[in-house]
Amino acid sequence: MTFLHNVQYVAASNILVLTALLANPVAADSLLDNSTLSTRIESEWSVLTKDGSTQKLQLMIEPELETEVGEDSSITTIVRLRTDAKDNLSPDDHNQAELRELYLDTTISDSIVIIGKQQVVWGKSDGLKVLDIVNPQDFREFILDDFAQSRIPLWTVNAEIPINDITLQLLLIPDQTYHEFATVGSSYAFTSPLIIPTTPPGSNVTINQTEEPEQILQDADIGFRLSTFTNGWDITFNYLYHYDDTPVSFRTIDLTASGVNISINPKYKRTHLIGGTFSNTFGDLTLRGEVGYLTDKYISTTDPTDTDGVVKTGELKYVLGFDWYGLTDTLLSTQIFQTYLDNHEKGMIREELNTQITFLFKQDYMNETLHAEVLFLHDIDYEDGMVRPKLTYEYSDEVNIYVGADVFYGNENGLFGQYKETDRVVSGVVIGF
């Protein structure tokens, strides 16, 4: 049997084993000789502070099976099963079952090749994204979910090739999957005019079906990253030619006897992303940063005379972060995050320059069995933000318990302020085995 046949066999076996495990763990044991099976079970309950109602009562099970194939290869399969008794986050999906990840990880000479459905993580920032846009994101819970949970894995060919002191990463992503937004009426549906174009009162609005790329190879995302470590600096240079994961809302206006007819024609558009990251330590301080420039960003405009309702511009984003480790078992971290539109026109729904800042405090107690953290994000221009305190206790090797809160404040037209009616207290149990 050839290597590829082995791979196919194991991939198929992985899925079968996971299916079997759900029904009969004993029967699956014999297939696990070269495999490591682990499972993460998370139960989370969130309560809205405004009225004490349950917002979310979710159970999520994620079995992960890793199977060795030969000496230096493995196949990883991760499945996610999720059910929410309240359905406020995704009203149309009471129960969800999905293949999260399925990839072959192998080496060819000195290179690592990972083929399959996977996450590719770029960037150095916490809580905000500049270069971490290789994978789209699930916004059913805004940006409150861990990014590892909310990233949408894509079918990808990912190769990392060492060339002297530099590592070249090559990406080919023929997967046409994009951001998933919270559905209208759900807890975290977007309402901010920074994201949703507004239309004149009394106008007839038609939203047409989103136009998606259809050609697997011609429309594939491609990219590379060069990374190196030199004189104490971690440095990367990143490039991605990709479809922006948010569709552009092209608009046409027809003035008729019956009134104003507005037609929205969402369409995914391609852009180049050029950027890089750096990090170094200076005593107790870690400095890290990332910068990215999108060549073809389309921003909606409220200018009724604009022919298609959007303005094409370049978008520069950067984040500069400082992590301070000066106190025992403590991390104090701050970031400044700015975006700049280099072709800003009056009427665009976003400001030419936008600045956000973050503060993070983390402290460990009791030999790292108790973790406290507070994350604070603030948008300086829109005067809104959120605060996220969280306390996690490792009850045992297998069981973690946590309690926290997600509090939004400020301008209700802002990215964070739009959710100020959804402040919540969250508690949960994570079991891993």
């Binding site: 990014f147 005593g283 030999n367 085995f433």
Partner: protein, 267 residues
């Protein structure tokens, strides 16, 4: 009769040797240099089981595999966590430079974030991932940092049947003391194999902080190696036991094990 003479002569010789040794004990610096000169191989791979016990007796167990390799005088170490599930695939990479004035470089891969995070190596007194060893303890392992302490040899004695020198190490200044979290360290160093068998640590206020025992010391590939480390933290009543197994020295360990992409990928 000859036997009796020989025995008496031996007793006289041993006694005179002890007296001579007491008069001419090696200095603390000499002992520290001998500790550091001890062969520990160019490379090493091993499994490590960490048993962490809190004051109520509740145990947490972590299993890891680690690799260490010298690149000239620069020491690189990587530790991969294998179990339990909530820390599995966590990996820690450190480059320990020979220059005293050059901070080490450290990276931590946290699977929950799927990111390699650069971390400061300057706070050497922080405890390593929930254990009672500090990052500095983990990094130096059976070695010592010459420039951090002034050392005085107190005496020689027997410890569990082994002849040892007892040395007292005091941080060179308050800054180093605060950084390491130690105000004084008493070490029992085996005079035959130059390995520390026991250490008593005192905090910067002079309070007894913790006791470390290096046990089950035996040769692996002709290199003296402790197979069990025990730490009792007297302040918290927390205990850490490290049990090493499958120790292999100087087998080929690939250079690319000590890279960020390797800790991201896992073992």
């Amino acid at each position: 009769m000859n036997t009796l003479k020989t025995l008496l002569a031996s007793i006289v010789l041993v006694t005179s040797n002890t007296v001579t040794a007491n008069d001419t004990l090696p200095t603390g610096e000499q002992i520290a240099k001998n500790i550091n000169a001890r062969n520990e191989g160019i490379s090493q791979s091993r499994n490590l089981k960490m048993i962490l016990t809190d004051k109520r007796g509740k145990e947490r167990i972590r299993e890891t595999i680690s690799y260490r390799k010298y690149f000239g005088d620069e020491k690189r170490t990587v530790i991969h966590y294998l179990t339990p599930r909530n820390v599995r695939k966590t990996a820690f990479l450190t480059y320990d430079y020979p220059e005293a004035d050059k901070d080490d470089d450290q990276w931590l891969y946290l699977p929950a974030m799927r990111k390699v995070r650069r971390i400061s190596a300057s706070d050497r007194g922080d405890y390593f991932l929930g254990t009672d060893f500090t990052y500095e303890d983990i990094k130096k392992e059976s070695k010592v940092t010459l420039e951090d302490f002034t050392r005085e040899t107190l005496r020689e004695e027997m410890l569990d049947g082994h002849p040892v020198y007892v040395i007292e190490a005091i941080p060179v200044n308050n800054e180093v003391a605060e950084e390491l979290g130690y105000g004084k360290v008493i070490q029992w160093v085996d005079k035959n194999i130059w390995m520390t068998r026991k250490s008593e640590f005192y905090d910067t206020r002079g309070k007894h902080l913790k006791t470390t025992l290096f046990k089950d010391i035996k040769q692996v590939d002709s290199i003296w190696t402790a197979h069990r480390l025990e730490v009792d933290n007297h302040k918290t009543d927390h205990k850490t036991v490290f049990v090493f197994s499958d120790i292999i020295y100087d087998k080929e360990v690939r250079d690319d094990f000590f890279t960020q992409r390797a800790i991201r990928r896992g073992i």
